[in-house]
Amino acid sequence: MWNDKKYEIGPFDIIGDVHGCYHELKELLEKLGYKITKHRERNVFDQHFGYTVKAPKGASRKVIFVGDYVDRGPASNEVLRLVMSMAKQGTAICVPGNHDDKLNRKIGGSDVQMRHGLKQTWEQLATEPPEFLKAVRKFLEGLISHYVFDNGRLVVAHAGLRENMHGRASAEVRAFCLYGETTGETDEFGLPVRYNWAKEYRGRAMVVYGHTPVLHPEWLNNTIDIDTGCVFGGQLTALRYPERELVSVQAKKVYYEPTRPLMAAAPALSLQQEDDDLLHIADVMGKRIISTRLMTNVIVREENSAAALEVMSRFAINPKWLVYLPPTMSPGETSAHPDYLERPEEVFGYFQKIGVQQVVCEEKHMGSRAVVAICKDEAAANRRFGVRNEGIGKVWTRTGRSFFPDGDALEAAFLKRFCEALYKAGFWEKHQTGWALFDCELMPWSAKAQGLITNQYAAVGASAKAALPTVLSALKAAEARGVAMDGLVEEYVQRLGMAEQFTSAYRRYCWEVASLDDYRLAPFHLLATEGKAHFDKKHDWHMAEIHAICEHDPRFLLATPYHLVDFQELETVTAAIAWWESLTSNGGEGMVVKPLDFIAGSESGKLAQPALKCRGREYLRIIYGPEYTLPRNLQLLKKRNLGQKRSMAAREFALGVEGLERFVRKEPLRRVHECVFGVLAMETEGVDPRL
């Protein structure tokens, strides 16, 4: 196809509607580093049309023009000379605009109306020799409606182009490229109402276009309009590709009064953020296949997305905040030790077996998993998350619910306190950011899980305490009468003891929360800051960054203790095991073991588990029941199937990483939401909740 320039991979400087603004075009090209030589002999035409333009020194950059070279401006003829010279010399690639098309028809002798600036162009061309007009005609005739560049990653068309028209050729495609999609309706200025195809755009290719003057170029669903109305006194803008940087020059004057004022009041939200206000159901429902960086395709089953839709709609926070959900975490293989379900040996064994040499062991705090988005101030929150009047951040749970009740003053106070520590730590300057996302554990457990604790754990403890002593005294009375009790007395002494252990196990993680002072936040991952998702950093980097913050408010922020283990240094292994034993014998929940690299692969290239938990013997009593340590129970419980849990953890991890990386790249919210939604959908799969 003529429009196929996939082999042209850039880099490019894509320039918006010029409309005869010669001086601004020259200035912009020079600002971009191009060297322009003006020739005296201007009508040779075999090498140039009056100019030679060289790419910036040492770079193989090319210009792509989005069309509308002529009309309205002061020097359409000169612009044509420059553009045509560049095209001839291979420093520019051109697509036609509607004005160019009309000029072409005029030169060809069609009876076209001399409105919208064509009259000026015609007068300017009258000063040129007739051969030049012929050359212009030849140039315009040869323009192809649009091009597909860089292996399909970039499409340039004057008025933009719907995905299903990319790389196609027809009268319909050509009309769309020149005029865009109109509904036939006109607005209050008598101009056609344009159907905003970009709103519906879901394609992978970036689409760069012009045609409709805008105040500021803005990304919307990976498309951008770079016509900043130079001829109307705005700017002439270039988009650098693949850098996505915008370079502009200011118009020297208003050459042409716009019919419709260019200057609408600047909206508080970007176009993309405005569009993100409303996610489309078609982007989440049904079976989904999500391509992620860590796993080629993650499949979300239809029934799981249906269940997730309900959870998301009824309980989740504003999706603009909800840019990440953490993956589930599997335990290690069941311990070979007769008295334990879980021990560090098996967890280390897993990582060693897949070829991970270094791991970090972090204390597992018994609270509730919380993701915290926090911004420097509310303006930064509005800017980056596109929210309005929602404070400086948000705290949410593993299932996307608000940690604090909607509009709770405690949440604001909580975030403020965290933010103050970040200021004191010089965090904002250090990371050159106005916002950050942390993965944390929030204590006490009883703050969020009060219902679960009173309805389930405390209830079990209370019922055991009400019943067992009475049973025991009845048994003892019978035994005292000389009835052979078949060992039942001893058994009940043991059961009563286990019930008491159960109660003390959950009590350790509960304390009353009357005010902010009663909360403890233990961040353990610094997930992202402006322009960066920190999955490329090792866990000791995360720990160090976070410890540096915690120092500034140690009462509130808990620096997580951790151990580094290198399997080649046996003493680090034994030290970590001893540490786990002392943690858990003091009632601690246990530890989480992660590969030192945030993202690790096995030798076979399979994604490693991002983390495995190793829980203490007493802690597990609240998971498996007061009497789980009885040998006959342990024996039954040791048959655990970890396969599904592990596979879920890996898929959720891949989705979580993908979603946050998309957010950091400022992709449209639906692209981020699709991943977060996928994690929630995975979580609706039934898996043994004790794992």
Partner: protein, 463 residues
């Protein structure tokens, strides 16, 4: 898990004959869900106590695939109070271990089984979420002297309050058979947490053991309903049969809980008012957003004016019920063309919602967090844009008039807000301004002079 029965009838050791268990022996019987032990901590001429212990092991219960538990795969199936409390497991054990006594048979002392003897029952841990009042309401009308002690949830966390567990002592001079049949029916009714799926045979059991005394009990209906764990169809059948009627007879008009009737009445008023508005709007195509189980749709169907009726809900389970209730599976093609249901959300833009004359949101908006209303407004008023939108929501001011409703509470646990009249009006005004509608707000139900009507309705019309 423990039941003890004590008598001071002389000779007290005759209790052994009545129960068919030897006071000098420790006996164990394996039941499908665990071992039951019977023994006598005290047995002499003056006093004799028999104990029944049932040992439940949740770990084994689950492993054997012997899944008695109701519902899905939840953590509470592994860590629960069942091993420690008096529940239907215990009453099942009563019927297996003391079966003949429960049926009034006693080979050795046939006369004694017919005799009223002084009996004391001790239940160390009876779960009663209805509290002490419920225990008394159920046992006292049967002539028992009732002694109860409530246990705290955790004595180290007094702010957590009391647990639902009671140590209960019941005393009466009564036939042992009657006492056992009372326990058989009332323990599960008080516990209200049956461990297996209810079937028709449950009704038989209840009628068999409850028979005569239950008919005379002032709380007959309540006990029946709780015993059958509020499975309303089954409870209805049992209530009807207790009343001595044929099971097939009119199942309507049985519910006499005042509150429920009031609620149902108000809902009816609400639906009728919504339909009036939809009719008056001239709408031919109607969307019921948050259609639930399809009550509004069922009432819309007879009106020929509505040529196209669509129901949307976020809950798949509700939609399945609605599909069944509206008989859509067996409907004619014409009917299916006219009425259809689909799964969707009010916080996601959805092209399926476009092109309707009218939409109704009956008691829906209060189930969304206020922070998410903005998205709903954009979906409905900005994108779908039906000509008419009817929205109903509770009037929070009226709550003070509901008996037993504590302050700051909502009418439903999932309500995120219950607006006052002026809050609702302000919201309507904002929506109208932003999306080009005009709205009229109307009261629903009988109006109170100061607090207004129990519910409120807004009718939006596109400008």
């Amino acid at each position: 898990m423990l039941l003890s029965i004590t008598t001071t009838y002389q000779p007290a050791t005759d209790l052994g004959y009545l129960l068919g268990k030897h006071p000098g022996r420790f006996q164990t019987k394996a039941l499908p869900f665990g071992n039951a032990h019977v023994f006598f901590p005290e047995a002499n001429e003056n006093t004799c106590t028999a104990c029944l212990i049932l040992e439940l092991n949740p770990v084994e219960l689950l492993k054997s695939g012997n899944n008695h538990f109701d519902g899905g795969f939840q953590l509470e199936h592994f860590v629960n109070d069942r091993p420690y409390v008096a529940s239907s497991f215990l009453t099942t054990a009563i019927s297996k271990i003391f079966g003949s006594a429960l049926n009034g048979n006693c080979k050795e002392r046939p006369g004694l089984a017919e005799t009223h003897i002084p009996l004391v029952v001790d239940l160390p841990c009876l779960p009663a979420r209805g509290g002490e009042a419920l225990i008394r309401k159920f046992f006292e009308p049967l002539g028992y002297a009732v002694d109860v002690t409530q246990h705290p949830l955790d004595d180290q966390f007094t702010s957590w309050g009391n647990s639902p567990y009671f140590t209960v002592r019941l005393q009466q001079t009564i036939k042992l058979q009657d006492l056992l049949s009372h326990l058989f029916v009332l323990i599960p009714a008080i516990d209200h947490n049956k461990h297996y799926h209810m079937g028709r045979e449950e009704i038989e059991k209840l009628l068999d053991k409850g028979g005569e005394w239950l008919k005379a009990h002032p709380e007959q209906e309540y006990i029946t309903r709780r015993y059958l764990k509020n499975r309303s169809a089954l409870a209805q059948a049992a209530i009807t049969r207790l009343a001595g009627e044929d099971e097939q007879a009119e199942p309507e008009e049985q519910e006499n809980l005042k509150e429920r009737i009031e609620k149902a009445k108000l809902h009816d008023i609400r639906l009728r008012a919504v339909i009036e508005q939809l009719k008056a709007s001239g709408a031919r195509s109607v969307l019921d957003l948050g259609c639930g189980e399809g009550k509004l749709i069922r009432m819309l169907v007879p009106h020929g004016q509505f040529e196209k009726i669509r129901g949307m809900d976020i809950s798949i389970r509700s939609l399945q019920n609605a599909q069944r209730r509206l008989n859509l599976n067996d409907a004619t093609p014409a009917m299916r063309e006219r009425i259809a249901l689909f799964h969707g959300s009010l916080t996601y833009r959805d092209d399926r919602l476009q092109g309707f004359d009218a939409a109704a949101l009956v008691e829906v908006i209060e189930h969304l967090d206020e922070a998410r209303l903005d998205a709903m407004e954009k979906v409905l008023f900005g994108h779908a844009r039906p000509g008419t939108v009817v929205v109903t929501t509770p009037n929070g001011e009226y709550n003070v008039l509901f008996e037993g409703m504590s302050e700051g509470k909502f009418r439903h646990s999932d309500h995120r807000f219950e607006w006052t009249r002026s809050q609702f009006q302000a919201w309507c005004d904002r929506v109208c301004d932003a999306h080009g509608y005009q709205a009229e707000v109307l009261p629903l139900g009988d109006e109170d002079e100061t607090h207004g009507a129990p519910s409120q309705m807004a009718v939006f019309r596109q400008l």
